[in-house]
Amino acid sequence: MQAPAVSRNRTRLIGPSALLPVGLLVAAVLLVAGLAASMAVGAANIHISTVVEAIFRYDASLFDHLIIRTVRLPRVIAGAMIGAGLAVAGAIMQGLTANPLASPGVLGINAGAAFAVVLGVYLLGGLPLLGYGILAISGAGAAAVIVYALGSVGRGGATPVKLTLAGVIFAMFTSAFTTAILVLDSNTFDQIRFWTVGSLAGRGWDIVLWMGPIVAVGLLGAMLLSRQITTISLGQDIAKGLGQNTALVRALAAVMVILLAGGSVAIAGPVGFVGLVIPHVVRVVCGMDYRWILPYAAVAGAMLVTLADTLGRVVQRPQEIPVGVMLAFVGAPFFIYLARWRVR
């Protein structure tokens, strides 16, 4: 397999690095505004000033305030969290494997998480949302360990090509068992089909409070590792030559990916495209330094998911299109654009 030679752009949109913090600040402000706007939109529109009031001068006797505080606020926070988590996880994986297509899906992590969830639902009959989360994270972790072990068998250790192959095989194998369960047990199938599509509908404070710390630890850890990831993205040999303990960095980074991807899957189900697309966009803006890529990816990922979720609530009102589907609609054309204009 050849590593896809997506040509790196030569110019950044934001030139001098002094502008990078400013850009990040602007993006963060835009994100907050976007979150507020998203809360104003829904089955019934609520004026933006009411949204602000509900947050800063909460009055439990007002119905609108109640909706904002108990339904819409946790939902947009959940959306921002999965956006940030998946985008940062994708950026780390692309950096570590030197593969611009790397994402949790390619390395078998999603398949592992899905299998654990399906098996759990099948054996236990039904689960609260939080149960899905715990199973997803443990499944993702187990998948990462197995794929890494499978990929490091033989000469040369865990090369990116062998890891990718191992990931593909593992994904196919576990998916077969997942499918077998879903075909044979209609009760499991009925529950899982709603989870698989990836949605933020009905995500409340409980899931946000449980998964928030996990995603936050993942984000923080990723930021702390960002300098090491920049080095390792230049190639494993160069990183070793620069005195880096590459095995340790990879292992730590993998833990962050599992926390971020697992936590996100736990909140909204397996949501694609954010982890794939956002890192590419971010690199156009701020180059190859992961100290900037990761925070930008977090903010941009959160913005994208918020946008997709808001659109999903608006376009077919009063029905909702799940965020997973909206992301595919936004992400796929962009991805195709990337393939057409960046590959010679």
């Binding site: 068998v153 095989i169 196919m172 068992f177 075909v183 393939a339």
Partner: protein, 357 residues
């Protein structure tokens, strides 16, 4: 030009050359090919007989052969069970395996990518989106339309991917990337449609998406045979073009292939072979991906012999998978798509492990 002494002791080339006496027809095959093909054919035959004899109603292998030949056996039911029920589905599995394997070998050859499989051309997602979408939005869906929708969806998706990858010429890498992108979009849409259906319909659709040869009929066998009869010989004739494309665009051009034309024809063949399997049995994964790998271990990467072996390996894989799908949880049945992956994946991991050493 002076030729060194060593030419005289030139080793007998490791090739078998087949040449018709009258016709200007000749093919060159790797030395290993005849033995491997013969072995595979015998194993396949044994697997076929075993598969037909197995079932809720067991039939002795000899009676299987007699029933296939239309001869009388000790039990008058044999004829009905063998020819009416088991033979069509088993033959269909065989041909689906052959078609998917050939399709996979072509797509891996032209993209020069070991990980490519027919799904890359959007065959499965295209067919899936159209069929499940129809099931979701039609007021009174007509099952007779499914195969046609699947065919249209599969070929349309392949066409769209090829067109989007075209930019003053096609490129394997663009093809792969755009294939990946559209397949994920298709996957998201299918998941969404599945949530909109009634549970019963959704589960039917899901089984179809997984791939199943349950309840196959002779008319499907005939349809499949017709398509294979046209597409497979064409594929074999283009083996040399595949060899040359496998050296990369530059060398292929330098050696005088009409790069874009040959690539288009080969992509068309690959898409056609995979699309027809989707129409008769739904989306069966893995066979198209793994069979060429196995065949390459057996006879090397030259496509003249490789295609032949791939087809046999694919057929064998699906016949065995079909047997397993009826046997594992008998009297229930697993979809054949599930057992294909469960059998194929460990073997593939073993190959990876052997290569790694």
């Amino acid at each position: 030009m002076s030729i060194p002494e060593s030419v005289k002791e030139f080793p007998r080339p490791g090739w078998v050359v087949l040449r018709a006496r009258r016709l200007t027809l000749s093919v060159r095959l790797d030395r290993r090919v005849p033995a491997v093909v013969l072995t595979l054919a015998l194993v396949l035959l044994a697997a076929l007989v075993l598969s037909v004899s197995y079932g809720e109603y067991k039939i002795a292998p000899l009676d299987v052969l007699r029933a296939v030949a239309g001869m009388e056996t000790s039990d008058p039911n044999h004829l009905l069970v063998v020819r009416g029920f088991r033979l069509p589905r088993i033959l269909l599995a065989l041909m689906i395996g052959a078609a998917l394997a050939a399709s996979g070998a072509i797509i891996q050859g032209i993209t020069r990518n070991d990980l490519a499989d027919p799904g890359l051309l959007g065959i499965n997602s295209g067919a899936g989106v159209l069929v499940v979408g129809y099931l979701t939005f039609a007021a009174r869906p007509n099952p007779a339309l499914f195969p046609w929708l699947a065919l249209v969806g599969a070929l349309a998706a392949a066409g769209v991917i090829y067109a989007l990858a075209w930019k003053r010429g096609s490129s394997s890498l663009r093809l792969i990337l755009i294939g990946v992108g559209l397949a994920s979009l298709g996957g998201a849409l299918i998941s969404y449609f599945l949530t909109k259906l009634t549970l019963f319909n959704a589960q039917q659709a899901y089984v179809w998406l997984t791939g199943s040869v349950y309840g196959s009929t002779w008319s499907e066998v005939r349809l499949m045979l017709l398509w294979l009869g046209v597409l497979l010989p064409l594929t074999f004739l283009l083996a040399r073009q595949l060899n040359v494309l496998n050296l990369g665009d530059d060398l292929a051009t330098s050696l005088g292939t009409r790069l874009e034309l040959h690539r288009l024809v080969l992509i068309g063949l690959s898409a056609g072979l995979a699309a027809i399997t989707v129409t008769v049995a739904g989306a069966i994964g893995f066979a198209g991906f793994v069979s060429p790998h196995i065949a390459r271990r057996l006879v090397g990467p030259s496509h003249e012999g490789l295609l032949l072996c791939t087809v046999l390996v694919g057929g064998l894989l699906l016949v065995v998978a079909d047997l397993a799908s009826r046997w594992v949880i008998a009297p229930n049945e697993l979809p054949i798509g599930v057992t294909t992956a469960i059998i194929g994946a460990p073997y593939f991991a073993y190959l990876l492990y052997k290569r790694g050493r």
